[in-house]
């Protein structure tokens, strides 16, 4: 089983190589290869998650280690190793990635313009995401992090869409450039923080399991942690550095939005937890109030912004900012239950937002319009689509029985446990606002009398329905039976020093 993680990297990269070898005029062949690759990733991801043994030892499992740079220059023993392993936190996120890519391939089935290049870049992105979740070496953690960011620019610029708001337009070039530059700017801070940590530890290795054992000087932790927090925070959509997120997600094609909002943003929060809090616990404790403040601000700000959007995709984009705010709140609580909630929320928001983007994409492909005020009564012509969107919305607003509730409940308990009453209260207010904009959107666009202009709309494609069903299955699974998730996450969260 130790090769399953390597296979999870090899399959997307191998597929990308296969795509380059297939001539561009066989689009159907490329789709089948993409389907097979995504199916393999889905199955292996599920195997990793369900095969993860919860044994109370919180250890790394499926370990695989290959030397990369050793005993050279300033590198010592184990200088840089391709060290793959998952713990209870990473396992569900690996599963999440498998689900979302499988769904995204179905949603992207009909891409006609250069679908070969599209799938090459998409699979590279997926490889990067897997790499981040599985790397136990700081160099490769960052390596895969950048690999995940790298294809975004081309994916948005070539297959994206510009938004015309009448008085002004938000071009896809603008969204792509903004996203890329902000994320890479964040990487600069991470870069510096990694250099500093490596030097401070003085071990000559980037092995995170060893870096974690070092007790760093407190002052060092205090100035170094914010570099990680802000650097990763950019990708996590941390207010006020979230502005790339709505523009980028709206400009991106549906499949890419699903992956980006669904899993890529999680890399940011995962980085804060895995690298920042786990290696520099005292720094994390010192900066936790700040993280809590920006988290709760983001949750509220995102919700209020989503409330004021009439564009469906912008609404979903801002709701992502809002939900990632909860993730940061959970992390900042520094309690077992709160941090567990954050990881749960990463999973829950991942599948939920991927489902939302699937639905927005489905209607946009037909109507070429995303303004919810121009729709009305769509439920009559697209009943399944409406049902899917409703379920996503209900999970988003935290309806018990669906994934969002489980996650947010944990987070709020954690936040109150850590005595951040004000933050907990404001977070719950944000959840109420979420309910408002979700229900209002459903009421305006989907229920009520049918706007006759849209009588000709057809039900969403069967592939999209399958993708939606897959994502809904995940939402229900976690919502109705959260035990496997909670147990595996709690198991590993307990071992992080500094989390009470």
């Amino acid at each position: 089983m130790e090769y399953v993680l390597l296979a999870l990297l090899a399959v997307p990269i191998g597929c990308a190589i296969v795509f380059t070898l297939i001539p561009g005029h066989y689009p159907q062949l490329i789709r089948y290869v993409a389907f097979l690759g995504a199916a393999a990733m889905f199955i292996m991801s599920a195997a990793v998650f369900f095969g993860y043994e919860i044994n109370g030892e919180s250890g790394l499992q499926y370990e695989l280690r290959w030397d990369w740079l050793e005993n050279i220059g300033f590198f010592g023993e184990d200088g840089i190793t391709l060290f793959l392993a998952v713990d209870g936190i990473a396992a569900p996120l690996v599963f999440l990635n498998g689900i979302v890519i499988f769904a995204a391939v179905f949603v992207s089935w009909n891409i006609a313009n250069r679908n070969k290049d599209f799938f090459i870049l998409l699979f590279l992105l997926v490889a990067g995401v897997y790499g981040v979740f599985m790397s136990q070496d700081l160099f490769f953690f960052f390596f895969w992090y950048e690999v995940a960011v790298l294809p975004m620019y081309l994916l948005i610029v070539i297959w994206g869409a510009s938004s015309d708001f009448g008085t002004f337009t938000r071009t896809k070039e603008y969204g792509a450039m903004k996203l890329t530059l902000m994320l890479v700017a964040g990487s600069v801070l991470i870069f510096v923080a990694i250099f500093a940590t490596f030097t401070e530890a003085g071990l000559g290795t980037f092995d995170m399991t060893q870096l974690r054992e070092v007790s760093y000087d407190e002052d060092f932790q205090k100035w170094c942690f914010p570099l990680f927090m802000i650097g990763f925070g950019v990708l996590a959509g941390m207010w006020p550095l979230h502005t790339w997120s709505p523009d980028g997600h709206v400009a991106a094609p549906t499949g890419v939005s699903m992956l980006h909002a669904g899993v890529l943003m999680k890399l940011g929060a995962f980085g804060i937890l895995r690298v920042g809090m786990d290696i520099l616990p005292e720094g994390a404790a010192f900066w936790a109030p700040v993280l809590m403040t920006v988290g709760v601000t983001g949750a509220l700000y995102g919700a209020v912004s989503a409330l004021s959007q009439t564009d469906l995709k912008y609404m979903v984009g801002y709701s992502s900012v809002s939900h990632m705010g909860y993730v940061l709140m959970g992390l900042a609580s520094m309690t077992t239950i709160g941090v567990t909630g954050s990881v749960l929320q990463m999973f829950a928001h991942g599948v939920m937002t991927a489902l939302m983007f699937t639905n927005v994409g489905a209607i946009y492909d037909q109507a070429h319009l995303r303004d919810m005020t121009k729709f009305g009564g769509i439920a009559k012509v697209m009943p399944r689509h409406t049902a899917f969107f409703t379920i996503a919305g209900l999970s988003s607003l935290g309806l018990p029985g669906l994934a969002g509730f489980v996650a947010e409940f944990h987070i709020f308990v954690g936040v109150f446990q850590a005595d951040y009453y004000w933050a907990g209260a404001l977070g719950i207010l944000a959840a109420a606002i979420t309910a408002t904009y979700i229900l209002r959107m459903l009421a305006r666009a989907y229920f009520g009398p049918l706007n006759e202009h849209w009588e000709g709309l057809k039900e969403m494609r069967i592939g999209e329905q399958f993708a939606a069903a897959l994502l809904i299955a995940a939402i229900l699974f976690m919502g109705l039976w959260p035990a496997p998730f909670v147990d595996s996450i709690t198991d590993s969260v307990n071992s992080i020093s500094g989390i009470a």
Binding site: W68, V147, L150, Y153, V184, F191, V192, F195
Partner: protein, 491 residues
């Protein structure tokens, strides 16, 4: 001055290159039927032969008359420069056929630059280094103005020549002062003097070092001595631009590294922040001005200035560990930059265009070329999978290890800035609509060279250990045992 016996056979690779250069000129003169294009491939073959012969002295340590070291450092750079020269010849072949006169002299001059560059890396004393540097520079001055009916080429060549002569004067004066104060021109000898008490000679010596820095700073195009770069890059025929950006910088960097490691290392605390300051302004100006460029040659001129800034970071943090990281980054940079230039040359051969906006729609007309150029540009910007990420990471980490974390941070920041202007080119290639839809004919030789370079970019980016080991062996041989002691004491 001359110590020991002179074993001429140790210089066999250089003799081969010089002889080959002469043979190329004669071939061109007496056998014109051969045509222009095969001449280029023939010249490249000569460079590769020289590289192969240089390998004979792998792991040897000896010297020629106390003037030229034959050690792993020399062997490494002999091979490296010969490969650069060879690739430049291959990339030139079709360009020269279409655009230039007198191919024989052109290729002969490229081979001469290789000799000059090798001499800079191999010399163990200042005057040999100076002569080698002049050999390299003069060959490049001529090559820059080679397109003699093009005004820009003449302008660029003249500017390069005049400013280069000026810089040489600085360098010579600096060498004079260092010799006057230390009584020797040998790197090791200067290092010995500087390890002792230098209070009596401090001012003259420092002035000398400063002047040498100016002279060599010009050669690597460090700010503020970079003024000639954009014009020379823009004016020179494209393959020559590629050659300048690769061999001239790498050779000057190899010399700086050896000189500072062997001669000036004992007083590193006195010049470290000067080097750091030069690195910062070089990175800042190169990367910021590159954003404004619309001509791809000028863009690469400024981007290469920025790249020199990263290399200077390694000089500011000089130590055996940084030296190997620096050379590793240089290898990655040169491979990447040559790949980018080969791609640009191929495009220029097709269309005669060099404005960035004229690259629009390239992805539709030549997907492989567009992909290769994209890979090269992402590598230059320091994106993972490619050489730029791994080598920059190692280099900046090395700087951080030497207490220059802030400098590593500045370098990372400017590396981020550079992503913007590289993305602009990528956007044109993939997003623009081409004027015509037709595919370009495939140039097999150029694509072959390009594929090898791109493969190198991937190898260094994905598994640098073997290359890094070779590089470390070579840089270890320039750090004399005595200097290691001094380093230990400093710590």
């Amino acid at each position: 001055m001359v110590s020991g016996n002179i074993e001429w056979e140790l210089l066999a690779p250089e003799f081969i290159l010089a002889g080959w250069a002469a043979a190329i000129i004669l071939l061109d003169l007496f056998w014109g039927r051969l045509g222009k294009e095969p001449l280029g491939y023939l010249a490249a073959a000569g460079a590769f032969v020289a590289a192969g012969v240089a390998l004979i002295w792998a792991d040897d340590t000896t010297d020629v008359g106390g003037l030229i070291d034959i050690n792993d450092y020399t062997t490494f750079f002999r091979v490296f420069f010969a490969l650069i020269g060879g690739f430049a010849c291959i990339a030139s072949a079709r360009y020269v056929k279409q655009k230039l006169l007198h191919p024989g002299e052109y290729y002969a001059l490229i081979l001469m630059t290789v000799i000059g560059a090798t001499g800079m890396a191999a010399s163990s004393e200042l005057l040999t280094a100076y002569i080698s540097l002049e050999l390299l520079s003069f060959s490049l001055y001529v090559l820059t103005s080679y397109s003699k009916f093009d005004l820009r080429s003449n302008e660029g060549g003249l500017k390069y020549n005049l400013l280069g002569a000026f810089a040489s004067a600085f360098l010579l004066y600096g060498i004079g002062l260092v010799y006057g104060t230390t009584g020797t021109t040998s790197f090791a000898g200067i290092g010995e003097v500087l390890s002792g008490d230098i209070d009596d000679i401090r001012y003259g010596l420092y002035l000398g070092i400063a002047l040498i820095t100016v002279g060599l700073g010009f050669k690597v195009a460090a700010v503020p001595f970079h003024m000639y770069t954009p014009d020379a890059y823009e004016g020179a025929p494209l393959p020559v631009t590629a050659l300048i950006s690769a061999i001239s910088k790498a050779a000057a960097m190899a010399l700086i590294l050896k000189l500072f490691a062997q001669a000036f290392l004992p007083i590193i605390d006195d010049w470290r922040y000067v080097a750091a300051g030069l690195a910062v302004v070089t990175m800042a100006l190169g990367n910021l001005v590159a954003i404004q460029q619309s001509n791809i040659k000028r863009l690469f001129a400024y981007s290469s200035i920025g790249q020199v800034g990263y290399l200077l970071v390694g000089i500011a943090a000089l130590s055996p560990e940084t030296a190997s990281a620096l050379v590793l980054h240089m290898v990655g940079y040169v491979a990447t930059n040559l790949a980018a230039f080969v791609a640009i040359i191929v495009y220029y051969n097709w269309t005669g265009r060099e404005e960035i906006s004229e690259f629009k729609g390239l992805a539709q007309r030549a997907p492989y070329l567009a992909l290769s150029l994209t890979i090269a540009l992402f590598s230059l910007a320091g994106m993972p999978l490619f050489a730029g990420f791994a080598t920059k990471f190692i280099l900046f980490q090395a700087a951080a290890e030497e207490d220059l974390l802030w400098l590593a941070g500045v370098a990372s920041f400017f590396s981020f800035i550079s992503l913007y202007y590289y993305l602009v080119i990528i956007r044109e290639m993939y997003l623009g609509e081409p004027d015509e839809k037709s595919r370009f004919p495939t140039p097999w030789f150029e694509y072959g060279a390009l594929s090898i370079l791109i493969a190198a970019v991937f190898v260094i980016g994905l598994y640098p250990q073997p290359v890094y080991e070779v590089v470390e062996d070579s840089t270890n041989s320039i750090f004399l045992p005595a200097d290691d002691d001094a380093l230990v004491e400093q710590r």
